[in-house]
Amino acid sequence: MKTSHFQTLKQQFNSITSRPSTDWEAVNVPSEYLVEFCMHLRSNFAFDMLVDLTAIDLGINESPRFVTIYHFFSSINHNYFRVACECTDTEPPTMISLTNIWPAANWHEREAYDMFGIKFQGHPDLSRILMWQGYPYYPLRKDFPLAGIETDLPGKDVVEETKAKVIPAPLDGGPFHGVQASTVKKREPKGYDESWSEQHPKPLS
């Protein structure tokens, strides 16, 4: 059941805006009020669980580029609440950490840092969690290619012995889906092989 706390919340936090949502109630909160707002949600509306925390990369040229998304759940009223908060446009983008209020935020924020490079201020140990320590890229950013980027593996002794490297995955002309486009060439890039035509027969490989 969709809640409607927006008017009540608006009285206390003037700068929040309603966020369009297909399921649960959602608001945009400026990052300077985020901690205060979440404390308020927890104490006055019983949203006591931080069930999910993630980020979105809206695109390389967008401003703001990164938005963090929080999902709160009330173990008493059994409904969800979505909070979106824009990160700063600096490199690295920054956001306030919620680890002091919810220990659950610890790993989620590490993951968001690992995947998007968002720096959570006040986090006790902001290190990579899914990728290895020292990995140079942020894989879920939109400018990171699906195939991956060639880079070194961790563990110098293993690399010396095996000469192994991280190499981009062969995608065979990917992406995995057809794109919504007008021409067949754009729609099915995999099927469009320019190396042969009616005049020049297909090379026998």
Binding site: P20, V51, D52, H71, W107, F144, Q180
Partner: protein, 413 residues
């Protein structure tokens, strides 16, 4: 020939531990457990600081099974991602399939027919039994009771035969589609599910007699790995681990989906939140699943098993595609461009055997999600380890890990 020198961690312990020695009586050392260790049930690595036999700090290192599912999801259509959901909680793939399909249907504001909902409840509950059977089996083995595993695995084998008949695969089922399921239930399948359910309770009772009052098992699990109510909430624990701490929260009951509100069942709650309580909850949940299943198979509604009016989402049956122009085009568009979704964002959690599996989808329209985030229950359940492990003996760690019943596939994604 080149001489090879390899450092082996176990042999290193005596030499390295001398560095940490500061007292004649006590000895502190750092120990790496995993990523390949039978008690970690996958590729979890724990960095442990030990003072004698007592753990003083525990730092889980995860990510060894990271495959970048979320990045892959951004680059394929909604239906193409279904097989990837199998590999999240690979002990109960069917319930992942269902959770994912419901999320996307919520985004499309699509209602599936009652028959489809009933089928989904049946497969979810069968998956729950399958997951708990394995969870309890290996938990017993961790505690030294190897017999349990033989009982539970025999039953899982029977479940796999049922899954194979329904989905065509024993393990990676990929059963749901957006707006329905891959195929209708086969002739006589419900009867065979009924037969399976009839012979299962005696086996659960057998496991019950072997474990629940077993003195060794009780000594090893009671008062081990206690999670308080407050911690369980603060760390975002879900599923049996949360209910073992005394919180009455089951999404099937409290935020019903797929018609769970039509079935009668109880949600078992424990009080203390130790490893023994978590075992008891799983045992009782299997019995409740049998209860739900018996109601479900008794009244599977007839009618369509996919959303027939969702022309841009669910591909029509092959027989129609081969003979009719309109269906042929419809099929072609869904296969090449994916099920068409409106722009918007959606978050949905399903009560899976391991806890609440959540999907967050941000769509900008079209057949491909702009961002898809998977909230793996095991990820959250494991994040409490640094809090509960310190103070326990080294030999209690397999018990704590077994009682949390996690799976690395959905933790690392």
């Amino acid at each position: 020939m080149q001489k090879q020198e390899k450092e082996i961690s176990i042999a290193d312990i005596p030499s390295k531990s001398s560095q940490y020695e500061h007292d004649e009586c006590s000895e502190s050392m750092t120990l790496n457990m995993g990523p390949s260790h039978p008690a970690t049930h996958g590729v979890l690595r724990l960095k442990l600081d030990l003072e004698g036999d007592i753990v003083t700090s525990c730092e889980p290192v995860i990510g060894y099974l990271h495959r970048g599912d979320e990045k892959i999801a951004e680059n394929m259509t909604y239906n193409q991602f279904v097989p990837y959901t199998d590999r999240l909680d690979y002990i109960a793939p069917l319930s992942n399939n269902v959770a994912y399909a419901i999320t996307v249907e919520k985004l499309a504001n699509l209602e599936v027919p009652p028959r489809c909902q009933a089928i989904r409840v049946i497969v979810c509950e069968l998956a729950r039994i399958s997951s708990h059977l394995l969870g309890i089996g290996v938990y017993g083995m961790d505690a030294g009771a190897v017999t349990i595993f033989l009982y539970t695995f025999t039953q899982r084998e029977k479940l796999y035969t049922l899954f194979e008949e329904l989905t065509g695969a024993r393990f990676t089922t990929s059963y749901t589609r957006i707006g329905g399921v891959a195929r209708d239930i086969p002739e006589g399948w419900l009867r065979r599910v009924g037969d399976f359910l009839d012979q299962l309770p005696p086996i659960i009772d057998e496991v019950d007699t072997l474990l629940t009052r077993n003195k060794i098992f009780i000594e090893r699990t009671q008062n081990i790995g206690i999670i308080s109510k407050e911690d369980a909430i603060a760390y975002g624990l879900t599923g049996p681990n949360l209910r073992a701490s005394g919180i009455d929260l089951d999404l099937r009951k409290n935020a019903p989906y797929s018609g769970y509100e039509n079935y009668e069942f109880d949600v078992p709650i424990a009080t203390l939140g130790d490893a023994y309580d978590r075992y008891l909850i799983r045992m009782e949940e299997m019995r409740q699943s049998i209860r739900i299943l018996k109601q479900a198979i008794a009244k599977v509604p007839s009618g369509p098993w996919y959303a027939e009016n969702a022309k841009k989402i669910f591909a029509p049956p092959k027989a129609k595609v081969m003979r009719k122009m309109e269906e042929l085009i419809q099929n072609f568009m869904i296969v090449t461009e994916g099920p068409q979704m409106p722009p918007g964002e959606v978050y949905f959690e399903a009560e899976n055997p391991k806890g609440a599996l959540g999907f967050y989808i941000l769509s900008k329209g079209g057949g491909v999600p702009y961002r898809l985030k998977i909230r793996g229950p095991s990820f959250c359940n494991l994040s409490i380890l640094p809090k509960i492990v310190p103070g326990h003996m080294m030999s209690d760690i397999p018990i704590i890990l077994g009682s949390l019943d996690f799976v690395m596939g959905e933790c690392d994604r």
